[in-house]
């Protein structure tokens, strides 16, 4: 062919590069991190015993102020790693509600006695069905809940200073809420 190079010749190459870029962008993502499906929805209704006292806890516990709902269990290795940071947040005045997920009460009480208790209340979810309602698939998971009792954020895995600064603090600041200060 003498009519010069046909630009369409480069189409397969361009298509290949585009596909390669698209697929490569997926490689860096963590496949275990699922989208936060319940974000923006209210916490499901529940009625569960407290680990700390004789009260029966309901979804009302999670209304009235910004607070964290932390899903943990004594069987969960990462929860031990995360625990000191939760204590630090609690010391700074961040209200945290615990959800003791698929655990034994006695072990959980021992755990809090030994390592300290960052939780204002602890909901007992021995059979994991409340966790299922929340879309929990492991521990630890941490939900940020607004005063209307709606789930604003969900973080799967260890909560630490970096996650707090990147995910939680900006949302609280935007809401006009200094982290740690309760209304």
């Amino acid at each position: 062919m003498s009519k010069g190079t046909n630009p369409w010749v480069f189409l397969p190459l361009a298509a290949f590069v585009a596909l390669a870029v698209l697929l490569a962008s997926g490689l860096g993502r963590n496949p275990e991190e699922l989208p936060s499906a319940l974000a923006g929805k209210p916490v499901p209704e529940f009625s569960r015993p407290s680990l700390l006292n004789d009260r029966t806890l309901t979804e009302e516990l999670l209304t009235g102020r910004w607070q964290l709902l932390n899903v943990w269990g004594t069987w969960c290795p990462t929860c031990y790693i995360e625990h000191p940071y939760l204590l630090e947040l609690a010391r700074d005045g961040v209200p945290i509600i615990g959800l003791d997920y698929k655990d034994e009460d006695a072990k959980a009480r021992d755990y809090l006695a030994e390592y300290g208790n960052p939780f204002r209340e602890v909901i007992v979810d021995a059979d994991g069905q409340l966790g299922l309602d929340l879309g929990v698939y492991g521990a630890p998971e941490t939900f940020l809940i607004n005063p209307r009792g709606e789930i604003v954020l969900r973080h799967v895995g260890e909560l630490n200073q970096r996650v707090w600064d990147e995910k939680f603090a900006p949302v609280l600041q935007q809401a006009g809420e200094a982290p740690g200060v309760t209304p």
Binding site: L34, A37, L38, G128, L132
Partner: protein, 129 residues
């Protein structure tokens, strides 16, 4: 031989759910094959032994007994775990590329071949003249 006949099938030991009818039983098997275990990436909740899968099977069984439709049950899990949890992802903007992508590529390739073949045969005719 006798042993083989009297042995309890292995699956019977995993978990047993009571249903009112065989139809419900069938729906249970279909739904648990269709739902994906959120913890283990590539297993259905019927295949998986993860705790979360056990809980999900239990919930599926309960919802079937309570008279929920298949659609309601799948929606319940998709609301909580996202489209990820379904092995039959719905068609929406986020999944469109999965559904349309391969077909589009096939069509583009087909059109490309037709164009090339036509041009080649036209050039061959021109050469003959």
């Amino acid at each position: 031989m006798l042993l083989a006949l009297t042995a309890v099938p292995a699956w019977a030991a995993i978990d047993i759910y009571q249903f009112d009818s065989d139809a419900q039983q069938d729906r249970f098997h279909r739904l648990t094959e269709e739902l994906r275990c959120p913890k283990c990436q590539n297993q259905s909740i019927a295949d998986s032994d993860a705790e979360i899968s056990q809980d999900m099977r239990e919930r599926v069984a309960r919802m079937i007994r309570e008279g929920h439709s298949d659609e309601e049950i799948v929606t319940f899990f998709v609301d909580r775990y996202g489209d990820f949890v379904s092995y039959r992802p719905p068609f929406n903007p986020r999944t469109a590329i999965l559904w349309v992508g391969p077909l589009t590529l096939l069509l583009l390739g087909g059109v490309g071949i037709v164009v090339l073949v036509r041009r080649a045969s036209r050039e061959a005719e021109e050469d003959e003249q």
